[in-house]
Symmetry: C2
Subunit: 226 residues, 2 copies
DNA sequence: ACGCTCTTGTGAACAAATGCACAAAGTCGC
DNA sequence: GCGACTTTGTGCATTTGTTCACAAGAGCGT
C-alpha cells in the first residue's frame, strides 16, 4: 500500500492540472461506447501532445497496454482515483449574485465528484430564497455546515471587496480549499489551498497576444519598406 | 523604437500570466492614493514573492528607483502598455444562458480594457432581448460584427456540445482570440489564441490536494502506530 | 514459435521558471 | 559632499516541465 500511495504522492503540479482534461476526454469516449484509445487519439481530444500525455499517465502507474492503448473505463477509474474523485466532495458557495446563481444552477458539479451542500449570502433579502433544491442561508450558518477536519471546498462569488472577509470566515469554519471567483488576490493561511478563476486576467492575457501579433505585423511592414 | 518593441517581444508566458495580478494590486493602491510602492509590498498584495515580481518587471524594462520602489501611476501605465490595454478591445459573447448573462451584466470588463460589443445566441426566443444596453442578436450577425484583420475577442458560453461549432463560426468570422467557458477542449487553427476557464477543472485540482492531505494524515497515523 | 507491427513507458537532452544572493544605484541625514 | 541605508535589477544555481527518440512489450498472422 505504501508503494501505491508513494506513486500518487509526487505527481507534478503540471500533470495534476491536465488530468481533469483527460478525464473529460475519456468521458466523451465513454458515451460514444469507445472501449480503448491510443495516447495519440486521447492526447488530440484533450489538446496536448501524445508524449506529454504518456509522461503524465506514467506518473499514475502503468495502465496502458503496449501495441494497443488504454482501456477507457480503467483509465477513467485510475485518473478519478488519483484526483480523489471516488467519493463526492462537499462544496459551499458564498455570494448569490449573478455569478453565484449561475454556479448554483450549473449541473456540472454533481457529475464530476462534487456536491453543492449549501448556498450562503449576507443579504437578508436573499436569505430564504430557494434555488435548485437548496435554500440560501445566512453567513452565521457557516460554522454549523462545515465540520473542521472533514474536507470541504468553499467557493467565493462575492464582490472583490468582501472576498478577503469571506475567505477568513471560511477558513475559521474549517474549510481547507477555496476557489475564488472575485477579482482580487486573497491571503490564506499556510495549509489552506486557494485557486482563482478570473475572467479579466484571461482576457488580459489574450489581449497581450493580440498586441504581440499586431506589433509583429507592423514590424514586417517596416522591414519590407526598409 | 525597435528596441522598445524587442523588449516587449520576449516576455515569458509565466510573467504575462502574472501581470494582470500586479495591475490589479496597483489599482487598489491607486484608489488608496498611494504614490509609491516597494517590490516587497506589491508582491505581497499580489500574492507572489518579491524576487519573482522584480524579475517579472525587469522583463518590461527598468521602471523602479533603487532604494525607493516603483511609482504606482507609472508602473500601472507600463504594465498596461505591455499587455496592450492602452486601448479597448472589442469582445463578443456567444451563448446567453445563465453564465452568458452573468458575464454580460458583469461590469468588470469596461474598466479593464475591454468593451462588450455584441451578445449572440442561436435561440430565437432570446434574440431581441435587451441586456444592459445591448440586444441579443442571432448568430448570422456574427460576420457583420467582426472585421477580419481587426482584433476581436470571442467568448464562448454555450453548452459543451455547441462549443466547437461556435468556435469554428468565430474563427470563420475573423476572431483571433477565444475565451472558452464550456467544459470541453476545442480545436482552433494555428494563429488563433485560445484560453479556457473551467470551474470543474479547478475543483478537481483542489480535490487532488485535499486527498493528498488526508492520505498523508493517514500515513502519519500508521507510522505512529507501527 | 517467430517475426512483424504497433504503441507504451521512460531515460536523457533540452527548455522554462524559480529562488538566491548581492552588486549597483539610488535616497537621506548630516 | 559623504557615508549609511534601502531597494532594485540581475547573474547564477536549482528546480520544474517538455520534447525527443527508442527499447521493451504486447498482439497477430502465419
Ligand atoms: N458576473 C460575472 O460574470 C463575473 C465574472 C467574473 C468575475 N466575477 C466576480 O465574481 C464576483 C461576483 O460577481 P457577481 O456579478 O455575482 O456580483 P453580485 O454583486 O451580483 O453578487 C454578489 C453577492 O455577494 C453577496 N455578498 C456581498 N458581500 C458578502 C459577504 N461579505 N458575505 C456574503 N455574501 C456577500 C451580495 O449580497 C450579493 O448577493 C465579483 O467579485 C466579480 O468580480 C463575476
Ligand atoms: N453556469 C455556470 O455556472 C457554469 C460554470 C462553469 C461552466 N459553465 C459552462 O458554461 C457553458 C454555459 O453554461 P450555462 O449554464 O450558461 O448554459 P445554458 O444552457 O444556461 O446556456 C447556454 C446558451 O447557449 C445557447 N446556445 C446553445 N447552442 C448554441 C449555438 N450553437 N450557438 C449559439 N448559442 C447557442 C443556448 O441557446 C443557451 O442560451 C456550459 O458549457 C457550461 O458547462 C457554466
Amino acid at each position: 500500500m505504501s508503494v501505491d500511495q508513494a506513486a500518487k504522492r509526487d505527481i507534478p503540479d503540471a500533470t495534476v492540472a491536465r488530468l481533469p482534461g483527460y478525464l473529460r476526454a475519456l468521458g466523451q469516449l465513454t458515451v460514444q461506447d469507445v472501449l480503448s484509445v491510443s495516447s495519440e487519439e486521447l492526447a488530440h481530444s484533450a489538446g496536448v501532445s501524445s508524449a506529454k500525455l504518456r509522461k503524465d499517465l506514467s506518473h499514475l502507474g502503468s495502465y496502458g497496454v503496449r501495441g494497443v492503448g488504454y482501456d477507457v473505463a480503467h483509465l477513467t477509474y485510475q485518473i478519478s482515483r488519483a484526483l480523489g474523485l471516488t467519493h463526492d466532495w462537499p462544496v459551499v458557495i458564498v455570494g448569490m449574485g449573478n455569478l453565484g446563481r449561475a454556479l448554483a444552477s450549473y449541473g456540472g458539479f454533481a457529475t464530476k465528484g462534487f456536491k453543492v451542500v449549501a448556498l450562503l449570502d449576507r443579504d437578508p433579502q436573499l436569505v430564504g430564497e430557494r434555488l435548485d433544491e437548496l435554500t440560501v442561508q445566512p453567513m452565521g450558518e457557516l460554522v454549523s455546515l462545515v465540520t473542521p477536519g472533514e474536507a470541504c471546498i468553499g467557493v467565493i462569488a462575492t464582490p472583490a471587496a468582501s472576498a478577503q472577509d469571506v475567505a477568513d470566515l471560511l477558513v475559521a469554519a474549517g474549510v481547507s480549499s477555496i476557489l475564488n471567483f472575485a477579482a482580487t488576490a486573497i491571503q490564506v493561511p499556510e495549509g489552506v489551498h486557494m485557486r482563482k478563476v478570473d475572467l479579466s486576467t484571461e482576457l488580459q492575457i489574450l489581449a497581450f497576444h493580440e498586441q504581440q501579433r499586431s506589433a509583429s505585423v507592423a514590424d514586417e511592414l517596416l522591414e519590407g519598406a526598409g
